[in-house]
Every structure is written in C-alpha cells, then in structure tokens.
C-alpha cells in the first residue's frame, strides 16, 4: 500500500481558488454535460445496486451452508447452496464488469463534452485573455480540471452510493441475524468515523506541504542548471548539494509524517476489526454454546465486520475528492464566464476589399497605462505594399494586431473602404487577410493539414501549386509520405528557412487580398535568404501588403516605408527619400546595415 502516499502533483495554480458557489450550484451547472449520458449512468447505477447487494450474499450463503447443510449432513442442500452461490457470484462479476465499463463510457463522454465546450469557448475569447493566461494554465484547465469533474460524476458519486448501500445492506442482514451482536458492532463505529475525519484534517496540510517541497526541489534543480557557471566558478557545488540534501530532508520529514498518520489509521482500523471480531466471537461463542445463535451467524458477523470499515473510509476519503472537484469546477466556470470576442455583426460572406485601409487617430495601450500607440494615421491603398520599420517596442506589431482586430483601439478607428473594423464580422474580415506571424507556427498534423489550415474544402492541388510557387515543394517531397508527412515537434523535421517558406505557402493557399507579414528576425544563411526573398516576391504579387520588415531586401520590394517610432508614425516615403532625409530611418538603416556586422 506504500504507493498510496504519493499525492498527484498538480500543475502549479495561480493561487488557491476561493469557491464562490455552493456545491449544488456547481452540480447544477455541470449537469447538462452529463445528462445526455443519463441512461448509461442509471444503468450503471442499477448494476451497482445488483453487485453490491449480491456481494453481500456470500457470507449469508456461507451461514446457510454451515447451519443448514453441513451441520445436518445435507449434501444435496450443500450442492444447492453452492449453486446459488455460483449464480450470485456470476451476478456480482457480471454486474461489476458492466458497471465499470458503462461508467467509464459515461464519464469519458461527459468529460469529453465538457472539454470540447471549454476548448471552443477558449478559442472564442479575446486576445487579452491569452495575454494574461499562460498556455500551461489553459491546457491544465481544459485537461486536468475537467478530469477532476469527471471523477465527481463517474467516481465519487458511485463510491458514495456503493459504500452507503453496503453499510445499510450489511446492517439489515446483521440485525435480522442477531440484533444483540449487531448492537456490539454498532458501538465500535462512531470512534472510527471520528478518527477518519481527524486523519483527513491533519493530513491535508501535509499534502500541501509536500507539494510545496516538490516545487522547491524542482526550482532548485532548475535554478542550479541555469546558474551552473556561477556555482562552479564560486566553487559552491558543495553548498548546493547541501541545499538539495536539506530540501530532501524536509520532504522526507513530511512524507514520513503523512505515512505515520496513514499507518496509524491503518493499524487503528485493523484494531477495530480485531476488537469487533473478538467482541463478536467472545460474546457470540458463549451465546452459541447456549444455543442462542448458530456458528453460521458467528461466521457471518466475522465476515461482515471485516468488510464494514472499508466503506466508512471510502466515504471519508471522497469528501476530499469532492472538495478538489469543486475547486476545479470553480476554475472551469470562471473561464466559461469570460466574455467572448465580439463577432462584429452577422457574416455577409468574404469581405470585398476595394479601395483602402485607413488608420485614423489610433491610440492604444495594453495595460491602460503606458501608451503603445499615439495618434497613428496611415492610409494604405489597394495594391500598395508598405513596410513598417522601427526599433523593437516601437509599436509595429501592435498596428498589425489592430488591423487583424485582435484588440480594439482605445481611441481612433481602423476603416476598411470607409467602414469601421468594429462593425465588420471578424471572420469576413480575416478571410481577406493572409497573416504570417514572426514565429512560424506549425501545429501537430500533416504538412497538408498545416498548409490548408485544416480546411478540407481546399483541394490538395491548390496546396501543391502554392508550395511550388514558393519553392518548398521539393523539400516536402523529400519525405517518403510527401504532403502526408506528420510534422514532429512543431516542424523540427524542416529547417528554419523551409518553415518560413511553408508559412508563405500557407498564406498563398488562401489567396488573400491583403497580406500581413511579420518578418522573422533570425538570421539565415545567404542561400536560404535568397529563397525566402524569391518566395516573398511570389507571395506579394498582386496583393496589398503590410510588412513588419527587418531585411533590406524586403524594404527594397515595397512601395512605401513607414517608420514607427515610439508609438507614432515618424517618417514616410521610399527607401531613397527617407535615406536622403537623414532622420530616424537613415539612422536605423545605418545601425542595421552599415555598422557592426563586420
């Protein structure tokens, strides 16, 4: 049983959640997810009743065999009892099997429904939500918290029902068999129930401490790995080894405290059983000799007393599980209650972009305090290609994000053909835009899936044509499965440059009117560089483009360069014009291409 001591270490949470609702509120909100599987749950419940009740039959039949058959030398009767036993056990086994499987199905489906709903909701949330919630936390919300809720429906409820039924059933049988002996047993129960509760109360903070100890151990490992040069230069390997030893000692102490408590309860329960059996046998055997009860009844009591404590414990354990499930429910519903990103009106089909995009007096701040954009005015005509340049943190990426309607500007508007962005359906808008972010994002799946963004209405031929145009087709075909190749670990089977080209091909597949490109900053070898520039030229043909540009070659391709400096538009013009002006651009240019790089 030693393995029981390892509490499941959770993903670190932001903080302990405070429950805002009552248990019934959580159950009511969860119910719709499990109601579709009500039939299955009910059937499993029925099986549970069958298996629990039939499970109690064993000792009763044994009593019958001892008292009625064996004592009287009735071999035929014994055969009959055995037969009944076989049937009862077949019933128990069959019902247990069905109950387990049906509950697993119902629980899994219910949890999957919850996961699905939560995931869909998460995807609809505004970008702000993703800025403040790290990915790990969101994953754990959709995965671990829903699993905890599954336990509530398919685990806890069952265990509680089963335990209660077992206790009641055994009590009934015992009272009928001998109420005197039952009274003896009954006296034992309250102290044990209290002992279980006391154990729970003391052990819970210890589990919390152990979780913390493990977190401390992990952060020591991670800090040490990061700070290894410092540790080694200062010759402090010994000191760090001692720190590790101390943390291990503290954790060991806590683990042992839990373990000692746990075994104390274990021994106590065992004591309880022994005392119960001794009481039953002590009084019972004397009564049996006097003929007040039979040996079979004695056997029945001995068998039931040993089974009585397990359900009591189970009930007490489940109270903890329930509390944790409610904490999960709280977190899940907080996320569900987040307001989704507005659609911006009903869809009217793919937007028809005709004249221009205008940024009028845009002002924006992520946190409501420091301004990232200040009165940005810019008009981009259809077919025009514009490069945004400037220092990191100047506001280029923010402009791009506002164009894609990831955020809403606090002041000013973005107008597409004179219509404000906020009034356009977001999908209509985004369907005319091809976005290539700075880091190429490839998701798990095949190359084909990645290039057509899971849209199966896009024919494979179109995808291949796009890949050919940006010259990444050959790179894909070098894998035996070609476009059906699975991308491992975010496309680790493709080189950095190839991944960039894949991103271009992806944008090309959807033939967008407007291209928004956040150019990668990482340096690549000149040969790949050239491939990428050719790919980009292909991609830009006949499109309106807004490029956050880092490469000179890219800047040479555009019609107009816009310098974004400290949240405003500082300069505009062609590369040559801006250079001649000897302002910010000329300095940026010199910084990047003249000085420094040897």
């Amino acid at each position: 049983m030693e393995a029981v001591f390892h509490p499941d270490y959770e993903v670190p949470e932001e903080a302990e959640v405070k429950l805002t609702g009552r248990a019934s509120d959580y159950v009511r909100r969860l119910w719709p997810f499990f109601r579709p599987h009500l039939k299955l749950i009910a059937a499993a419940g029925a099986m549970l009743v069958v298996s629990t009740v039939l499970g109690l039959a064993g000792p009763v039949l044994m009593k019958r065999a001892i008292d009625m058959n064996i004592a009287r030398g009735d071999l035929r009767g014994l055969g009959f009892t055995t037969l009944v036993w076989i049937l009862a056990q077949l019933g128990v086994v069959g019902a247990t099997y069905l109950q387990n499987v049906w509950l697993a199905i119902a629980g899994e489906r219910g949890a999957a429904g919850l996961k699905q709903r939560l995931f869909e909701h998460a995807l609809s949330l505004p970008m702000r939500f993703f800025d403040t919630n790290p990915v790990g936390r969101l994953v754990s919300r959709v995965e671990s918290d829903t699993e905890a809720l599954k336990m509530l429906f398919a685990g806890t409820s069952v265990v509680l029902l089963q335990s209660a039924l077992a206790i009641i059933g055994m009590s009934v049988v015992m009272v009928i068999a001998s109420w005197r002996l039952y009274l003896l047993v009954l006296v034992l129960l309250p102290p044990f129930v209290l002992a279980f509760r006391a154990f729970q109360r003391r052990v819970r903070p210890l589990y919390h401490d152990i979780r913390r100890n493990v977190a401390d151990l992990n952060s020591l490992v991670s800090e040490s790995l990061k700070g290894l040069p410092v540790i080694q230069v200062f010759g402090q390997e010994g000191w760090f080894a001692r720190r590790m030893d101390n943390l291990n000692r503290v954790k060991f102490g806590n683990e042992m405290r839990v373990m000692t408590l746990w075994y104390a309860v274990w021994v106590l329960v065992d004591f309880g059983e022994v005392i119960g059996i001794a009481l039953v046998l002590g009084f019972g055997s004397v009564w049996a000799v006097k003929g007040m009860l039979t040996i079979g009844t004695l056997f029945l009591f001995v068998a039931y007393v040993t089974r009585l404590f397990a359900p009591l414990r189970q009930i007490s354990d489940q109270i903890n599980v329930m509390q944790r499930a409610f904490a999960s429910a709280e977190r899940v519903f907080r996320m569900m209650d987040e307001e989704p990103e507005p659609d911006g009106g009903p869809s009217a089909g793919r937007l028809r972009f005709q004249r221009e995009i205008a940024l009028a007096g845009l002002g924006f701040s992520y946190d409501g305090e420091s301004r990232v954009l200040n009165n940005v005015n810019l008009v981009i005509r259809r077919g025009e290609k514009v490069a945004l340049v400037g220092e990191t943190g100047g506001g280029k990426t923010t402009i791009v994000s506002l164009l894609l309607r990831f955020y809403t500007a606090q002041t000013g508007t973005v107008l597409v053909d004179g219509r404000p962005l906020a009034g356009l359906n977001k999908h209509d808008l985004r369907s005319v835009i091809g976005f290539v972010p700075q880091d190429v994002m490839l998701f798990p799946g095949t190359v084909l899936d990645n290039l057509r963004m899971l849209d199966e209405s896009v024919p494979a031929e179109r995808v291949m044509a796009a890949a050919r145009r940006v010259r990444v087709h050959d790179a894909i075909m070098r894998f035996p499965e070609g476009y059906a190749t699975n991308l491992i670990e975010r496309g680790a089977n493709f080189s950095l440059g190839e991944r960039q080209l894949l991103a271009f091909a992806r944008a090309l597949v959807f033939d967008p009117d407007i291209l928004i490109l956040d150019e990668a900053t990482s340096s690549i070898d000149p040969q790949t560089e050239q491939l990428i520039q050719q790919g980009l030229e292909e991609l830009l043909k006949g499109r309106t483009a807004i490029i956050v540009a880092h490469r000179l070659a890219t800047i040479r391709m555009v019609d107009r360069v816009v310098v974004v400096h400290k949240g405003r538009i500082a300069e505009e013009g062609t590369h040559e014009e801006l250079l001649a002006r000897a302002g910010i651009y000329s300095r940026l240019y010199r910084l990047q291409y003249v000085a420094g790089n040897g």
Partner: protein
C-alpha cells in the same frame, strides 16, 4: 526511453551497503507472515470448541488469544509497510542527492542534452517510480512468496485433498497476470498517447492563437479536437474494459477458491474428514492468497517499469563531466593568464577560432564585440568550465589543466550578464555558501551600491528573493551579482555586462570605481556600452569568434575599424533614443 540492462544497479548498490536492513526486513516479513497465518488457526480452535461444547472459560481464553494475535497482526501490518515506505523515501533521498551532485559537476554539453524540464521529470516522477520498486516492490514480492509457501504448508497439514484442489486453481491467477500484465501496460501506454495528443493540440491552439484567429480556423480546430477526443474516449474505454476484465478475473479466482472450499470442504466436513473449524480456517487461507497472487505477478510488470525509470536516472549520472580534474593538482598562484591560439566550438560549429589573449596582473582588459561574437565562451574557457579543443590556456606559463580545479576557479570573481540569482536571501545570494564576516559582506554591499536598497527591505540582507519573495529590478539583480563577485577581493574580477540594466552614466561610474579598487589585481570587463570599456587599458575586439583588433581604446578608435564601427553604432542608438 531505452532501458539499459543492469540499470537496476542503483537499487543493487543501495542494498549492498545496507545488509542489516535486508536482515531486518527479512525477519520482520517472516514474523508478520507467521502472525497473520496464525490467525485462522485460532479461529479454528474457537469454532471446533463451540462444536465440542467446551466451557465458556476456555472459549473466552481462545478469543483472547485470537484478539492478541489480531492486535499483533495489526501492529505488524502497520510497522512493516511503514518501514518499507521509509526505506523507499530514504532511497529516493540518497539517489536524488547523488544524481544532483553529479549534475553540479556537469556543464554545457549536459544542458544541451537534457533540457531542464526533462531533468526535473527524471528526478521527480522517474525516481518516484523507481523508489517504490527499490524496497516495497522487492519486499512485497518476498512477503507474498512467504505467505503463499507457508499457508500452503499449513493447509497441506490440515487436509491434502482440499489443498491439492485449491492451490493450482489460485496459482493459475498469478500466471495469468504475468501473461496479461504486459498487454494491460501496452493499453495504458496507448491511452496515455491519446491524452498527450489531445494536450498537444490544446497547446498548439493556445500558443498559436493569433494564427488560429487570423485564419478563422476556430471551428476547424474544434472539429479536429473532437475527433481526437473521440479516439481518446475509445482508448480510455478500452483501458477501462481491460481493467474491468482483470478485476472480474481476480474476483473470479477469489470466488473460485471460496467455492471450492465451500463445496469440496463442506462435503469433507459432512463426511467428517474435516472439522468445521478447519473448514472456516481454509476459507480464511483461501482469501489470504488473493493479494499475494497479485503481488507475485505484479513484480515483473513493476520491474520493467522500474528498470526503464532507473535507466533514465542513470543516464543523468552517466553523462561525462565537462572537465576532468588533474590527477596530481598544483596549487595556483595569481599571475598572467593567457589564451594561446585557442579554438573551441559546439557540435562541430566553431565559436572561437585561433584566439590569443592575455590577462596580466594589474591590467584592466576589455572585450568588445557584437552579439554571438564569442565573448561568453572566452569566459567559459577562462573559468575552466570547458577545455579548449585546440590551443591552451595557461596561468604563469603552466597549462591550467594541471591546477587544483576548485582553487583555480577561486581566483575569479564573476559577475555574469544574466545575474543568476537563487530563491534565497540576499545574504545567501551574495555569499553563495562562502564563510564571510558580516563586516566584509557589508563592504561588498556598499561597494556594489546596494546598501540603500537593502536598508529599504523589511528584513535587510535576510530579505527573500525570487518567486516567494521580493522581485528585484534588473539593475538591482546586477548589483547583487557584483557584490557576489567582489566579496572576497578576487585576484581576477570579471564583469560580463552585469550592469547593463543601469543607465549609462551610473554604470560607467560603478564599473570605474570597482575596477580601480582592483589595484594590482586583474580586471576583465565586457560591456555592450563602449563608454564603459574606456576604463580599460587594453581591449580585444571579437567578431565571429576571432580577435579582429586589439589595443588601447584610443588606438582602436583612431584605427577606424571594427571598434570604431561599434562605437558609431552606439552613437546612433543614443541619437534614436533622443529623437
């Protein structure tokens, strides 16, 4: 994930050093087995006593004996597993300490091979898996074997026929688990794979949310997730099914045993070839077999998992250390350090090419260069965190590989670019385990201009830093790192751009003051601000792993080469700041 043969060596060496623990556990297990096996025998006495109509006094005596054994059993059922659990934990403690100690001697190649998360995973989950096997797994197997053997012996003495019927039926259970176990594990693994597939999708969707939104692929992502969940439900239900089947199997075996006792035993009682007491005792022994059967079969399954876990932990300790200390170490004296035509690279990619540099006592040497020029690697070699692949590093003309490693490294005071603070007090972050007088620590704090901040904290130097304590600003962190570097007045002080977070003026002043205090000792300064480097009297200009220029700051500026271009670049940056 490749499990190496003999990788349970960790477990073996643990026990080899502790023969007395083995003896204790063996004796304890035997005692516990004896106690629990005695229980049904006393039960038999009572039942047969009732049948024979013995006096209440005799019965009560038997019951008291039974209670006595019962209490002993309870205690042994607590004490023995408690001890096993304790040894599990001690094993975990020892192995984690030893592995960590090894990691502390490792270096860059270790970090490249094992990402931090991976190391944590191995030292946490893998070790937990292994530790259970190390003691509990082994000795539960032993206890199970004892129970089975001795119970079988007692039963044979009571009735040969009934035993001959019962044992093979139950033994079948253990064999079946040995065969079924691996398929259960396989199922379990493929179910886990589906779970991680779903989680990978979640992670990809959330981390790529901008792309998901811009391509309006929310509904398609959701659809894909639905398919994965459907697969996952199938796998999960299959796993539950096989588990339920296994449970049915075990319940069936248990019931089969009782059934045999009931029918065969009952008949024997009727025919008076078995007493009713023996009948009840048989029933108790049959029940006693179930758990051990599982433990016996389980060992092989657990053993495989433990072996895989042990392999993963051993891989960490098997990684060779970055540098090897000399067999006969010489004590180093401060003096002239020279890199002589040194070449160094990672995985075939050269980072330093044929670099020669000299750091003499009393000199202030600067290193300038663009990002990725190889500056940090120069330090890595200088501190002997790694050895050059060609050329050599000498101190007073002797190859540094001949010096006592710890003593050699103690020549340096190092303030790194990334301050590398630990979740501990400010005091411990400065002292990092070194014994220092408080006055000396205070002097370092003042010299690093940290005294005013420290005075502002509630607990002063004992203020806790990190996640559960105060978060320092970048500039403050840098100054803690500086206090750490200058604490013992090292013969060679190294500033690797440690004060970059300070404003230019403050940084220059601070570095100038600290460097001046070095006196006849050496100072090495790296800074991306060339104004800071002007406190040096000699500068090496690195570019793409090569020393392109060297000389005094003035000479370098007059040469209008790389250093001058870097200087121009900085002027431009400053101009942009003001525009």
């Amino acid at each position: 994930m490749k499990a190496q043969r003999g990788s349970l060596g960790l477990v073996y060496s643990f026990w080899r050093q502790r023969p007395w623990w083995i003896a204790g556990l063996v004796v304890g297990t035997l005692a516990a087995t004896a106690i629990s096996l005695a229980f049904p025998l006393v039960l038999r006495l009572i039942i047969d006593g009732i049948r024979q109509g013995v006096t209440p006094a005799v019965l009560v005596r038997h019951v008291l004996i039974l209670a006595g054994f019962g209490l002993l059993r309870s205690v042994s059922e607590g004490v023995l597993p408690w001890n096993r659990g304790r040894i599990n934990e001690l094993f975990q403690w020892k192995v984690r300490n030893e592995t960590f100690r090894h990691i502390l001697g490792s270096g860059h190649s270790f970090a490249m091979r094992f990402p931090t998360g991976d190391v944590m995973e191995r030292l946490d989950h893998d070790l937990t898996e292994l530790m259970w096997f190390a003691c509990s797994g082994i000795f539960r197997f032993f206890a199970a074997a004892c129970t089975v053997v001795f119970a079988a012996a007692i039963m044979l003495r009571m009735n040969v026929l009934l035993t001959a019927v019962l044992i093979p039926a139950l033994g079948f259970g253990a064999l079946a688990w040995v065969r079924l176990g691996p398929s259960v594990v396989r199922r379990f693994v493929s179910w886990r794979e589906k779970i991680s597939e779903a989680n990978n999708q979640l992670e990809a969707a959330f981390s790529g949310i901008r792309l998901v939104k811009s391509y309006s692929m929310e509904s398609r992502m959701a659809e894909r997730f639905r398919q994965t969940l459907a697969d996952r439900i199938r796998e999960s239900v299959e796993t539950s099914r096989i588990q339920a089947r296994l449970q049915v199997f075990y319940m069936g075996i248990a019931e089969l045993g009782i059934l045999l006792v009931l029918w065969v035993g009952g008949t024997l009682v009727v025919k008076q070839r078995l007493t009713l007491g023996q009948f009840v005792a048989f029933n108790a022994y049959a029940l006693m077999f179930i758990g051990p059967m599982f433990d016996l079969g389980n060992l092989s399954v657990q053993g495989k998992r433990a072996q895989a876990a042990a392999g993963r932990i051993s891989e960490l300790s098997a990684h060779p250390p970055e540098v090897t200390p000399p067999a006969r170490p010489i004590q180093p004296e401060p003096g002239v350090l020279r890199l002589e035509r040194v070449t160094f690279g990672y995985g075939g990619r050269p980072v330093l090419k044929d670099v020669t540099m000299e750091f003499a006592a009393g000199r202030r040497v600067g290193i300038a260069g663009t990002v990725g020029a190889g500056k940090s690697t120069v330090f890595r070699l200088l501190f002997r965190l790694a050895d050059p692949q060609a050329g050599k590093l000498t101190l007073n003309g002797l190859d540094v590989r001949s010096f006592d490693l710890a003593a050699y490294r103690r020549l340096f005071g190092y303030a790194p670019q990334e301050p590398m603070l630990f979740s501990d007090t400010i005091r411990n972050n400065i002292a990092v385990g070194r014994e220092v007088e408080p006055a000396r620590l205070q002097r370092a704090v003042v010299a690093a201009q940290l005294d005013r901040e420290v005075a502002g904290f509630d607990k002063g130097l004992d203020e806790l830093l990190g996640e559960r304590g105060t978060r320092l600003s970048g500039g403050q962190k840098g100054r803690v790192a500086i206090a750490r570097a200058i604490l013992e007045g090292p013969p060679v002080l190294v500033f690797d751009d440690a004060t970059a977070a300070l404003d230019a003026e403050t940084e220059r002043e601070l570095v100038a003051t600290l460097v001046a205090q070095q006196g006849e000792r050496t100072a090495i300064v790296v800074s991306h601000r060339l104004a800071v480097l002007s406190v040096c009297d000699y500068i090496y200009c690195l570019d793409q792993g090569e020393v392109k220029e060297e000389g005094s700051p003035r000479e370098l500026l007059e040469r209008r080469g790389l250093y001058w271009r870097l200087y121009q670049r900085q002027l431009l940056e400053q101009e942009l700041e003001t525009l």
